[in-house]
Amino acid sequence: MNSIALLLILSCYLAILFFIAHWAEKKENNKWTNNPYIYTLSLAVYCTAWTYYGSVGVAADSGLSYLPIYLGPIIIAPSWILILKKIIRISKVNKISSIADFISLRYGNSRFLGAIVTIICLSGILPYIALQLKAISETFHVVTKTPIRSYLFEDTTTYVSVALALFASYYGTRYVDASEKRKGIVTAVAMESILKLVFFVIIGMYVTFFVFDGFDDIYQKASLLEHFKEKNTIGGLPQAINWFLLCLLSMFAIFLLPRQFQVSVIENNREKHINTAVWLFPLYLLIFNIFVYPIAWGGNILFEGKNVNSDTYSLLIPQLFEEKTLTVIVFLGGFSAAISMIIVSSIGLSTMITNNILIPYNLLGKLKSAETISNRTILNSRKIGIFSLIILAYFIYRYFGLDYNLVSIGMVAFVIIAQLAPAFFGALFWRRGSRLGAVYSIIIGFVICIYTLLIPYTIGLSNSNNHFISEGLLGIHLLKPFQLFGLDYLQPIPHALFWSLFFNAITYISVSVSFKGNYRERNYAEMFVDINKYITNHEDAFVWKGTAYRNDIEKVLIRFLGIERTKRAMNIFNIKYNVDNNIELADARLIKFSENLLTGHIGTASARILISSVVKEEKITLPEVLKILEESKENIIINKKLTETSKELKEISAKLHNANESLMKKDQQKDEFLDTVTHELRTPITAIRAASEILHDDDEIPDDLKKQFLQNIISESDRLNRLIDKILDLEKFETGKQIIHPDKYNLVKTIEKSIDPLQQLIKNKNVTVHIESKNKINAYFDEDRIVQVVTNLISNALKFCPEKDGLITIKIVEKDNFIHTFVQDNGKGINPNDFENIFDKFYQSTNQNIKKPVGSGLGLAICKQIIEHHNGKIWVQNSIKGACIVFTLPKKKNIKTFENEKNINS
């Protein structure tokens, strides 16, 4: 294919990538950019050009040994739900922006340790980035069938590198705070992960089903080739040990590679995204790997005896069949795999270099003295960092040759990064791990890596004549770099991993237990190991003693964050810890809070140094720290218990408050009731007394008048009697002494029976009473009592009916297990506010000031008691005109109360 055409395609592809990154960056909280799938796909930055091309090469040339690189992540992925979550929590609360920050913070904000971690990462990853550029360059020339150009400006990789460097430095440094999320980059990487998988599956399907006739066909033909059996089995016990060590290596790599730490921890928006990653990421790797075997062995069959680079089989096969489009598609997939790795790694490394080497060792002096700090200085240093890293990697690729295949250099990078494992996992789970232990272990591990891998690789693997490789250092056989101490059955990579990690871990543990760490390390150890306890108020767990002034700290913050952000942050702090803004002295929490604010900008070590420069810290002894931590732990537990108890108390007090209110209301009602009753009792008594006095005092009253007075005394006595009866009636109902005798009756008849004695009154009032019902509706009730209810309701209705055209409608309806009786008049109606109170025995008394009560005010209260004793209910219903009172009665015996039944039905 024509170089210019391919370059044009590449430019278009890069332009689309820029566009996606730009679009994602603009969209705030968009569900397209902030979701668990984008997060998981961004983790697939793990699959670089090495996966895309290198795995095929290894499967074709040496067999299964590419698989452990993917089995490791598949093994460890389910446990992310615990481990990765913990790492993310620690990083979020401490505003960590790189793995160097993570390790250096845990070991007491150690500037030196941060620098060592950065150097380790740099030495492992820089050649790895170079390797990706090499892959791009080689595959470009395979696709265009052109020779690799030696002249710098004729090499297309030069331009690709510059474009990538510009892209990464622009989108990778949008925020000064390096712990901020880079949505643009992450979305672009996720997009590329989809493309590389889809393109790889396409070429896999093409080889399997178009070039060959399915998997079986490939197997049958491949099994005839030489070494098929050896290349498709592990082989034996020593090889299985190699296999195990490689699995271990990739398990570490998935946590420790700077690009993985960047996407899985720093760019994580929500913890719950891990829940998807634990199954989707292994699935992604699985799909990727299914087609490695058919492509590799398809290539072996097609190119048997020809001298071709097996790494490029996935390009050579479609090219062989002149499938130009497919070749370009495969090339774009590989290109995507390479550039996502380059971009993410360079961003991660650049943050590490600026925050852990440049600022703490060089810029910090300037930052301390400068009155105002331009964030641009920090941003620019990161931009230049990213740009120069990619360009440096380009020069490594150009001038150091990198003669090895894709896998071997990738593996060397893995082994170097694995040296961080003891210190990193110790930070998560072991309180006693110390800074000294971490520093020495990493250095010793790295030195062994240099001896067993880097030096031999630089000399040349194939150079077996080399004295150092074949005879060992100074001719001592036990010091042969590939068979150190006579261990000769491991391959170079597992061999180096074994010895380096062995000495690394031993050093870490033994130094940590032999020398006490300082109080700061122990403090962070507690915060890291027990992060779940401190997740909400982690500033509480920070132990610090000394004198510090709020003003001084604020001044430092303002220089980096600006006045507005500092003020906002201080407000958040004051609200969170309920601190008065006017307090001049700063406490430990404010110190930690301010360090966190600066960490994202300048790294943990520099943040600590800067804050320390404006505060006066007193040394604390280790036992003191432990005591404070113990107390703070207890405090946290006590606080938790207190919060729970106070919640319970609040609930109880709310209940008590309600009960009290209801009691007060009832008390008031009782007083009002007594007033009413006394008033009601006094009226007839007064009348009786007046009549009796007249009769007593005056003997000469005419007989007619005397009779009239005696009649009055009788009728008032009757009234008094009725009133007392009603009060006693109600009292009996309320105390449960009243017994009803329900039986099966025709409710219509009972209602008619109730109306009969009232006929005269109805006639006098000129009211029409109308019954809407079937002739016979049986219900289960005490007839005398229901007559009492109906009489009461009709009497009430009569009282309120208009003088002209008064109408009372009684409607009886069957509904489920109950008979509903509606008594409706066309009077002035009931105020909706009184719907609930109308059945209270004291209801009338609340109206007493407005109008003279008609009746005793106990009628409806008694009705309510009677109906409820029948398991029914009585209530006022909304009505367009007049009042409508409804009561229900059970159809049969033993029916639950109306309320309960309604609840069950609903």
Binding site: A77, S79, L82, D216, Y219, S223, L237, N275, Y293
Partner: protein, 64 residues
């Protein structure tokens, strides 16, 4: 997700570590043909598929 269910995921990891390594993996170390793949591939791929399925189910069922 409750601690108990998180521990189930750790158990999957431990089982995978055991299943993918010696001595168990050597029991399936054969290049014989099964559905067009050497048996060792089929073993590794199927264990990965099953574990992924289990992880998916645990996360879906017990996620709160």
């Amino acid at each position: 997700m409750k601690k108990r269910h998180q521990h189930k995921m750790i158990i999957i990891s431990i089982i995978l570590l055991m299943g993918f390594n010696l001595p168990i993996v050597l029991l399936f170390d054969s290049s014989q043909n099964l559905w067009g793949f050497p048996i060792i591939y089929i073993y590794l791929f199927s264990i990965s598929t099953i574990s992924t399925l289990f992880s998916f189910l645990i996360v879906k069922i017990y996620n709160e």
